[in-house]
Symmetry: D2
Subunit: 374 residues, 4 copies
């Protein structure tokens, strides 16, 4: 059946194909019953799903929450969290979305009852992972603690949906949640970035979206650092005023050069490199702010004296909170930046393993590898 035909077919089969995780690196394509949406949930027919670095972590090491909790590697779980699709069935009480609506997803549906959810900090839900059995607090993290998107259909709480604008391709729509994470980071930094200097360190998907969203909100200058010229060139296309290849120039010196010695107000750290926080502290001026959207694998020496002496605030961000996904979707609907540039490859559901290979090995400079399902 061609995709074109399937796009208009909103009928729901009883069974579906789904990748499930049996153990580290053991993904298997199986047939599963199509799940049913409950109260405040919808059934989404998955049209496209992108591969994220966290998916690789989950597939190789298991779920972070499982690991921290000392739980065994989860079996029969379907990963994948950067998906979009079409609403095909409404659970009880849903009138926020209609059948046929195209939607992108957020990862986190908070429990709605812990201290953090009551403050609106649903990505920091204290009942994370407690959505099974008699500990059911209603939390969901799609592709993390509940089945995700490397399949044909998925159940989503209405809190994890954002409308996809008309005219946006399925592939581009998988990037809404990535842009949402960048937006959430800029919110943490205060949100008022127009006319302020912003350095983004690391030109991965979140870094590139941080450049795009920061520029869309008027940051000036927007400076991107990285090691690969192809990625930096993309950064320029997405709105960076300056790019720095740190193999050619010390990034701190480059930022000082560009800003006439003054430094910038904000840094979005998206590289996870061990010395990034120290460098970021040298890039911001006194009173500046740094958002950490990435992190090194091991504890790394940090010059805390500089942080205190310069009144620097550091914001770790988890996921895409504060409805940032909705705001990011609005900027993309207004065509403020060509997000689709970071989509490089597409494979069908059956070829997910190939997609992962391209993504992990950066074959043909792969950035966002999208699995097209319907």
């Amino acid at each position: 059946m061609t995709t074109a035909v399937r796009k208009n077919d909103l009928s729901i089969p009883s069974k579906m194909k789904a990748w499930v995780l049996d153990g580290p690196e053991q993904l298997r394509l199986v047939e599963k019953p199509v799940p049913q949406p409950g109260l405040a949930e919808v059934l989404v027919r998955i049209d496209a799903v992108a591969i994220c670095g966290t998916d690789v972590e989950i597939i190789t090491k298991g779920l972070p929450a499982w690991i921290e909790g000392g739980l065994p590697f989860n079996k029969n779980f379907t990963p994948g969290h950067e998906y979009m699709g079409t609403v095909v069935k409404l659970g009880a009480g849903v009138d926020e979305y209609n059948i046929g609506d195209r939607v992108a997803v957020e990862i986190h549906a908070g429990c709605g009852r812990c201290e953090r959810c009551r403050m609106g900090m649903y990505t920091s839900c204290l009942n994370y992972g407690l959505n099974y059995g008699d500990k059911n607090k209603g939390h969901r993290a799609n592709g993390f603690t509940t089945d995700g998107g490397f399949t044909e259909y998925a159940v989503n709480h209405v809190n994890t949906l954002a409308h996809v604008p008309d005219g946006m391709s399925d592939e581009e729509a998988t990037l809404i949640v990535t842009a949402g994470t960048a937006m959430y980071g800029l919110d943490a930094l205060g949100g008022l970035v127009a006319g302020e200097g912003l350095v983004v360190t690391g030109p991965g998907p979140i870094g590139l979206m941080s450049v795009a969203v920061g520029k869309a909100l008027g940051a000036q200058p927007v400076i991107l650092t990285g090691t690969r010229d192809a990625r930096l060139k993309l950064g320029t296309q997405l709105g960076a005023d300056h790019v720095i290849n740190i193999r050619s120039e010390d990034p701190v010196q480059a930022v000082k050069r560009i800003t006439g010695g003054k430094g910038v107000q904000y840094v979005m750290e998206c590289s996870g490199a061990p010395n990034s926080l120290n460098e970021a502290m040298d890039m911001v001026n006194r009173g500046g702010r740094i958002c950490l959207a990435a992190f090194p694998g091991e504890p790394t020496p940090v010059d805390l004296a500089k942080l205190v002496r310069n009144n620097i605030y550091v914001y770790g961000i988890r996921g895409e909170g504060k409805s940032a996904t909705h705001r990011a979707a609005a900027l993309m609907a207004q065509k403020r930046f060509p997000a689709k540039l970071i989509h490089t490859h597409t494979f069908p559901l059956e070829e997910l393993q190939t997609g992962f290979k391209y993504f992990r090995e950066r074959i043909e400079d792969a950035i966002k590898v999208v699995i097209k399902v319907h």
Copy 2:
């Protein structure tokens, strides 16, 4: 059966006595089945419930939401929202509270899925009142859109509960939600009131609790205005540094006199008097902030030019948001102010009508009239 005996009896009967509203001013004591708690809910045995000015409005005019929605006067509804009691049964998934815990209640459980709830603004839930039938969004406003506290047992969502500290009487605990509203108002004003001047206009229960909470947080000076010396004296006992009887002295002039002409930073308007906002704008200095916790019955002339020219911010507050009730309960547990002073009268459940009469006619200077149920 004596109260003492009943206090230790956590068994749940099948029927209970409840006041229900048949029409304007038509309260009737009936027998009803004891309700059952659902997911994320508990059953509270009501030990005490206070009468609030809004109860009088509901009983005489009907529910605000009903009126705005053009709905008929609701029948068979049990009002009462300032109650406290003992948890006697846990619904599914509840481990935040245990059977036997003493709890005070908040009014609002937001839907958890609208734009405002996702921001943590659950008292401004956009699905207010939508908790029935196929429009079930899960919203609850105890004593407003769901059955309240003028009865023996009530179901509460865990989001509407706060622990009552040991050693606090049932009667005092009914005031936690009132103090929570005052705390929410001070939050809206920025929360950092230590050393800042605060005027509270109107010595009703919320005004008096605003004095108490404001002083507990270090506001200086705290100035209370009103018309009755007995109430103002209470204000002094609760922490006011200065009280102004507006029958003897112009309140704006008095504030200027007390502050050496400078005015204050903050006003909590709790009187609902028609000219209060204009006077508040003359009490704050340039850049000051005003919280409206009360309002006149009719539109009233406001000098908006003053608001703009002096960069004044005005915050209307709805209910007791931002978990303010928990913070207020903490201050009361720490015995920061003698809230119990505003409790003046107690009646048993059967004499609710007498309680209302005392409250409405301010018989014997009644302020908080409490119905003791168990």
Copy 3:
């Protein structure tokens, strides 16, 4: 001498032409000594100055601060506050600007020592107007309490300057401060407007700039209301998604229609119409926010009950605080909106009176009338 020649001439004469105010409506062109910049000040050669509605007020009624203070009409004062020009001399300690820099101005230099200035709220300076004699607190409000821009040269504190980007015309640069006021209003509303609904009421210069800045920051939809189609058309060109002529359609109903009954999150009130705040409260959803950038001449009835019941916050704004002018200038440098569209007429300094006539009588649909000085 032609303007082209004079543009490159940064020499400073000893005398200059200046309009001074003798009494209500009595503007007179005189010769004055060119003033000298002091510590932290520069001398600006005025290249262009726009006429603002407040100039009309000052010329007809006197300075607001004078009137409130019961002072006599100020004589020999030069009004005009929306000016831009070229730095021609640096006072002591100035290295933020160089001779030859093109600059636009803000009105307010706070005293730097009152409670509000210490908080960064310099437009709400408590020492407003205290910049003379032994009460010298260092406050300046250009064109209000110190000589302004209807002249050839003016002294400015460095805090009242913003760089004018290369390639921007003098005429357009006079609009930076107007855009700065709009930006300050959006800041007061929280600043995070991307994807949120924004109604701007009143298509005067601040209203039109609010449309432009709001759209540049991603607000969606941006709705502009007004009475004149030509102004509304300009609004569309500046970024409004919808315009409403309130002579044809009730604005509240129109906002409900456009937003599917939901209302918007934010209203910027820029009309000063008597019922605007009441209408704004019906345009925002529960928990919404309203900024007042204009006001009616007389106290006007306001339905405060709605404000409290719907948890609405109202922000009066004074001037262009929080360095909003710098952020607005950045957006304009990035060419995010064609601000110059609202510039309609130009006159030389000698014809200021004609300029005022065009502005006041809206001759040829005049919006921004600019006096070109150099």
Copy 4:
């Protein structure tokens, strides 16, 4: 002359005794002319000055700003920044204080014109140290970049003064700035600490004041960690609900034990111990916040993954910003906590060196050593 007599003598001599720093560890008592206050300044007769850990750093290593700037050790400089005294002369334009007023001091007077000062962040002034010669930006940091308090008289900008309440001893008043730093840290954490859990790590003067201010604002529980029982006992007297001697119990485990496994919302890190930030991240719950008021001497390994995964915010604080000193003084005037408990020793000006010896060697458990000057 006895102190009592000197207290009432506001006459100003032409010469005064002052300690000056010739080189590392080379403090010398000399005679200097009494300085004269300029615009917006007053002359303070120093009545008492406390020794701070930073004084020891300055005396042994030189000024931080000098060192960072590669400047030589400053000669003829008078250190000392925790002082209080009596206003004896007013500079031009001063009416905020009167002769005879008792005042405590803040360290930082910002330039009032940089980006940070304009935001109200004057302790992060970008013109720090630029208060000499033709780079005069008006910045002052008493005892750091301008002469401080180990002398008889000092000039202070009005922005660095706070009124000392009647009835407070000179010795206690030297602690106002310490309490102000604690208050500024709690502000950075959000300020709304009532009912929230707060851990303070390190029972030095700032740690002990953080306990006191946190408890005064209603934090619950307040937990103090440290290594010396005498200090921890003081913490209890100042308001700590629990103290943990980390030599007897692992502090993270202890916090979990006390909070029923939940952790706290806030940590004030005041110890500077190398592993403190990592421990703090284990003490807060997801979404918690940490203020760093101290720091280790060397870069130290930090587990940044935890910071990102748990959405933790870390706030470095510099000095005592946001007028926190005024708010702290207000709490002390209201006698909310017995700050004077941390004052342990007093010496006359001539015996400053002995005072330093007591402070550095913690002789007789010295905490705050005060030099009584008048």
